[in-house]
C-alpha cells in the first residue's frame, strides 16, 4: 500500500488507502448509500448515486474527489 493518499500529498491512515480526510469522505460516502437507496425505493445503483452526488453543491469536495477516484478505478460495485 502506498504511503501517501492517491488524492493528495498527505500520509495514509492505515488500513485505509486514503489520508484521514479522504478516508472520512469515503466512509461517509459508503454509509450514506443505504439511506439514498431507501429514499429512491431501493432501485438506485451506485453509478446513479455517484452521479447525483457529483451534481450537488452540498457534496463535500473531498467526497467528490473520492467519487472521481473510484469511478476512475472502476470501483463502483
Amino acid at each position: 500500500m502506498a504511503d501517501h493518499c492517491p488524492l493528495c500529498e498527505r500520509p495514509t491512515q492505515a488500513p485505509s488507502e486514503f489520508c484521514a480526510l479522504h478516508d472520512a469522505a469515503h466512509t461517509n460516502l459508503e454509509n450514506a448509500y443505504s439511506a439514498w437507496n431507501k429514499s429512491y425505493g431501493g432501485n438506485l445503483t451506485k453509478d446513479e448515486y455517484f452521479a447525483q452526488l457529483e451534481k450537488r453543491e452540498e457534496t463535500g469536495r473531498a467526497v467528490k474527489s473520492v467519487i472521481q477516484y473510484l469511478l476512475g478505478k472502476g470501483g463502483v460495485a
Binding site: 500529498e9 480526510l21 461517509n28 450514506a32 431507501k38 429514499s39 452540498e58 473531498a62 467526497v63
Partner: protein, 704 residues
C-alpha cells in the same frame, strides 16, 4: 511646586482627563521632545497628563535576541521599540515621559481600567519613571465624561491594581512563550527543509481557534447530503389563500411524499382545532462587548475588530462607556435619568427617552454576566459634538437603542395555530402577532419579527387544498464560521479574552490560514493543525487552553501567582519544543509542499493568456522592481501580453472573475485602507481608451 504625573492610555484620553481636571482656562498643551503633554494648575499644584501609545513595553528574550533561535525560555520586559520592528516612534515617547517624571512627586495610572490598561500604566511607571509603580495611585472610571473623571480623581485608589497587573504580565509572558517557540519551530522547520521563508504562527489561543475552523472545514469537505422531500401546501379559506405547514417537515422517501400528494391534492380539509397562546418577550440585556460585536455583525456586517475599533472611537469621543467589558449589568450609579435626559436632547431619541423618563420606574433588564471593572456598554447621554461618520453613527444608534430597549416593558405576542385534517394527513396554519410592542418599539429597526395575521377561523370550518407541491431537498453541511460566529465559539469555549479574540481572528487571515468572509480553511491551515495534533496535541486542545485561562483569571483574584503559571507553562512546553526541534526536518518536509503550493497559487492566475493560452503570472521587472502580470509564453511563443498591477499594498489573486470580462480579479490592500478590488484587464482597456482620447490629432495644413 508639587507635581503630579498622570499616565493615560491614548492621546485623546489624556486631553479629556486634563480638561476635566482643569479650571475654566483649560489645560495648556506643552511639548517635550515632540511628545505632547497637558499641564493643569490645580489646588496650588501642577498636574502633567501624558499618554501612552498602547503598550510601550513588551516581553522579549533576555539579552540580545536572535530571531531565528529557539527554544527561548528566559524572558524580560523591554521597550517595545527594542523588542519589535516598526515601533521607532515609541523611543522618543519613553524618553520624554522619563524626563518629565523626574519633576513629579506623585504618580497616577489613568489608563483604561482593565488588565491591559493596568499593565500599560504599570510598565511605564516602573520602567520609564524609575520605579514609580511602588508609590503610584490608580484612577478608575468607565466613561471619559467630566463628572466621572473628576469623581475618579477625587476618589483615587491609593495604589495600583497589582492583581490585574500581574494577571496581565502573566498573560503576555505565557502567550509570548507559546507564540515565539511554536511559531519559530514551524517557520524554521519549513525554512530548513525547503529553503523558503514563510511566516507561520500559532499560539496558545490561535491554535485551538484555527482548529475550530479546520474541524468545520473537514465536516464540510466530507459531507454527503441526504435527500428528503417536503410538502408545500396552500389552503383557500373563503377566497383567501394562505400557506399551510405539513405535519412532517421531512419525508424520507419519495414514495411517502408522492402518496401524501395523491391523498390530499384537490381534497377538502376540516379545521379540527384552533389554539392561541400569548407569551411574553423580555427586553434584551444590556450590551457586553461580545453581544455588541455580534449585533453589529448581524445588522451592519462589521467584523468584531471593526465593531470594537468603532466603539473605542465612540468611547474616546465621550459618547459611550468603555466597550471592553464582559458585564451585562447597568448599576443605578451610572444615573439612568441623567443619561435619558441627555439622550432626549437628540431628535431621534427625544420621544422614546422622554416616555421612559415619564414612566416613573427605570429598571434595566440586567443579564447574568458581570465584570468587576466596568458596567455594560451604555451611552453617556452626551450629544455628539459634530456629525459622526456613517459607521460611528450606526454603532452609536445601536448602543443607544439597546440601552433604551433594556428599560422597556415586556412585549406581548400571540401565536395562533389551526389544525387542518385532510383524511389521515394533518396540516397547520400558523399566525403570529404583536399585542403590545413594549421594548420592541424602543429597539427600533434592530428588533425584527414577522407578523402573520390569520383570517377569522372556526372549528369545523371546511377549507380547500388550493395548491400542493412536492419539493426534493437535501440536507445541508454545517455553515462556515464567519468572524462573528467564530468569536462566539471562542467565547463559549472560554478561550482568549474580550481584548484579544478579534485580533486573533484577524491573524488567521493575515497568515493565510483562512480566506473569505465565510471562513474557509486553506490547505496550509489543515497542514499546520495536523502537525500540531501529531506533535503537540495539547497546544490545540481547548480544555488545556481553558485550564490555563482559568489559572490566569485566578491571578486577578489573588488565588494564583504569576510565577507558578509561567513555570508550569515552561514545564509543559519545554519537552514539546525540544521534541519538535529533533523532528525539524520531518515537520519541515510536511510544510514545504504546502508553502510551495501557496506561493505558486499566490503568483499564478487561473485565467490563461488571452493571446496565446499560456499561464499568466505576477512578475517583477528586475530593473524597476515594478510588478505586473506577464505571460509564461514569452519564452516559448514570443507572447508579449502583459497587464499593469497596483504598485502598493499586499496583492491577492482572488478566486473571483470580473462580471464584465470574466478575467480574474485582484485585490491590493494597504495598511489602514480598504482593500482595492479591480480587474487588471478592464483597467488596461480603460487606460488605453483614455490615452487614445487624449492623443491630439494634428490636421495637416494645406497651403493653397
Amino acid at each position: 511646586m508639587a507635581t503630579t504625573l498622570i499616565v493615560t492610555e491614548k492621546p485623546d484620553a489624556a486631553l479629556h482627563v486634563a480638561e476635566a481636571l482643569s479650571s475654566e482656562q483649560g489645560p495648556k498643551k506643552i511639548s517635550v521632545g515632540g511628545v505632547p503633554f497637558f499641564e493643569v494648575q490645580k489646588d496650588g499644584g501642577r498636574i502633567l497628563v501624558c499618554s501612552a501609545l498602547g503598550h510601550l513595553y513588551a516581553v522579549s528574550a533576555k539579552g540580545t535576541e536572535v530571531r531565528s533561535q529557539y527554544p527561548v525560555w528566559d524572558l524580560a520586559w523591554k521597550p517595545k521599540y527594542l523588542a519589535e520592528r516598526g515601533q521607532g516612534r515609541q523611543e522618543k515617547w519613553i524618553q520624554s515621559i522619563s524626563i518629565v517624571s523626574k519633576e513629579a512627586d506623585r504618580f497616577i495610572n489613568a489608563c483604561d481600567y482593565d488588565v491591559e490598561g493596568s499593565l500599560i500604566g504599570y510598565t511605564i511607571l516602573k520602567y520609564a519613571c524609575d520605579g514609580a509603580d511602588k508609590k503610584a495611585q490608580r484612577m478608575k472610571f468607565s466613561t471619559l465624561t467630566v463628572k466621572e473623571l473628576r469623581d475618579s480623581y477625587a476618589n483615587v485608589l491609593p495604589e495600583l491594581d497589582f492583581p490585574l497587573v500581574f494577571a496581565g504580565m502573566c498573560r503576555h509572558e505565557v502567550d509570548w512563550l507559546y507564540g515565539i517557540n511554536l511559531s519559530r519551530a514551524l517557520t524554521q522547520s519549513a525554512l530548513k527543509a525547503g529553503n523558503r521563508y514563510s511566516t507561520l504562527s500559532t499560539g496558545r489561543v490561535q491554535g485551538p481557534t484555527l482548529h475550530f475552523v479546520v474541524d468545520r472545514e473537514r465536516e464540510i469537505e466530507t459531507f454527503v447530503p441526504l435527500p428528503y422531500w417536503a410538502l408545500a401546501a396552500r389552503v383557500d379559506i373563503d377566497g383567501k389563500v394562505i400557506e399551510a405547514e405539513y405535519e412532517f417537515e421531512r419525508l424520507e422517501t419519495k414514495a411517502q411524499a408522492e402518496q401524501a400528494i395523491r391523498d390530499c391534492a384537490g381534497k377538502k380539509g376540516l379545521i379540527e382545532k384552533l389554539e392561541s397562546k400569548t407569551y411574553q418577550l423580555s427586553p434584551p440585556t444590556p450590551f457586553d462587548l461580545s453581544t455588541l460585536q455580534s449585533e453589529a455583525y448581524r445588522h451592519f456586517g462589521y467584523t468584531p475588530r471593526t465593531a470594537l475599533s468603532i466603539a473605542e472611537r465612540l468611547y474616546l469621543d465621550q459618547l459611550i462607556s468603555y466597550p471592553r467589558t464582559s458585564s451585562q449589568k447597568l448599576p443605578p450609579s451610572i444615573n439612568y435619568e441623567e443619561i435619558l435626559k441627555g439622550l432626549s436632547q437628540i431628535g431621534a431619541y427625544r420621544s422614546d427617552s422622554s416616555s421612559l423618563l415619564a414612566s416613573g420606574s427605570l429598571r434595566p433588564n440586567d443579564g447574568k454576566k458581570g465584570d468587576p471593572a466596568h458596567p455594560a456598554v451604555y451611552p453617556t447621554g452626551a450629544v455628539p459634538r459634530g456629525e459622526l461618520d456613517s459607521r460611528g453613527q450606526k454603532l452609536f444608534d445601536l448602543v443607544v437603542r439597546r440601552f433604551l430597549a433594556t428599560f422597556g416593558r415586556t412585549a406581548t405576542k400571540q401565536s395562533d395555530k389551526a389544525t387542518v385534517k385532510v383524511g389521515k394527513h394533518t396540516f397547520f396554519l400558523r399566525g403570529s402577532r404583536t399585542l403590545e410592542k413594549g421594548w420592541v418599539a424602543l429597539y427600533g429597526p434592530y428588533a425584527k419579527f414577522q407578523e402573520i395575521i390569520l383570517p377569522p377561523l372556526r372549528e369545523g370550518q371546511q377549507v380547500t387544498m388550493a395548491a400542493l407541491s412536492l419539493e426534493e431537498k437535501y440536507t445541508q453541511p454545517p455553515p462556515r464560521y464567519n468572524p462573528s460566529s467564530l468569536l462566539k465559539a471562542m467565547e463559549d469555549a472560554e478561550i482568549g479574552t474580550k481584548a484579544t479574540r478579534a485580533d486573533i481572528i484577524e491573524t488567521l487571515y493575515k497568515r493565510s490560514y483562512v480566506k473569505e468572509q465565510r471562513m474557509s480553511a486553506t490547505p496550509l491551515a489543515f497542514r499546520v493543525t495536523e502537525i500540531l495534533m501529531k506533535y503537540c496535541p495539547k497546544v490545540i486542545d481547548v480544555t488545556f487552553t481553558r485550564e490555563l485561562e482559568t489559572k490566569m483569571e485566578q491571578i486577578e483574584h489573588g488565588k494564583q501567582t504569576r510565577e507558578n503559571v509561567v513555570l508550569e507553562t515552561i514545564a509543559y512546553l519545554k519537552p514539546v519544543i525540544e521534541d519538535l526541534k529533533t523532528k525539524q526536518q520531518e515537520v519541515g518536509k510536511e510544510l514545504t509542499a504546502i508553502i510551495g503550493d501557496r506561493w505558486q497559487a499566490s503568483t499564478t492566475l487561473f485565467v490563461p493568456c488571452p493571446q496565446c493560452g499560456s499561464t499568466l503570472k505576477v512578475v517583477r521587472n528586475p530593473k524597476t522592481k515594478k510588478r505586473f502580470i506577464g505571460c509564461a509564453g514569452k519564452w516559448t511563443k514570443n507572447c508579449t501580453y502583459g497587464l499593469p498591477l497596483p504598485q502598493f499594498g499586499a496583492l491577492t489573486l482572488l478566486e473571483k472573475r470580473c462580471p464584465k470580462c470574466s478575467f480574474q480579479l485582484i485585490q491590493a490592500k494597504s495598511k489602514g485602507r480598504r482593500p482595492l478590488v479591480s480587474c487588471p484587464k478592464c483597467f488596461m482597456e480603460r487606460l488605453m481608451a483614455k490615452r487614445a482620447a487624449e492623443t491630439v490629432t494634428i490636421k495637416p495644413t494645406v497651403t493653397k
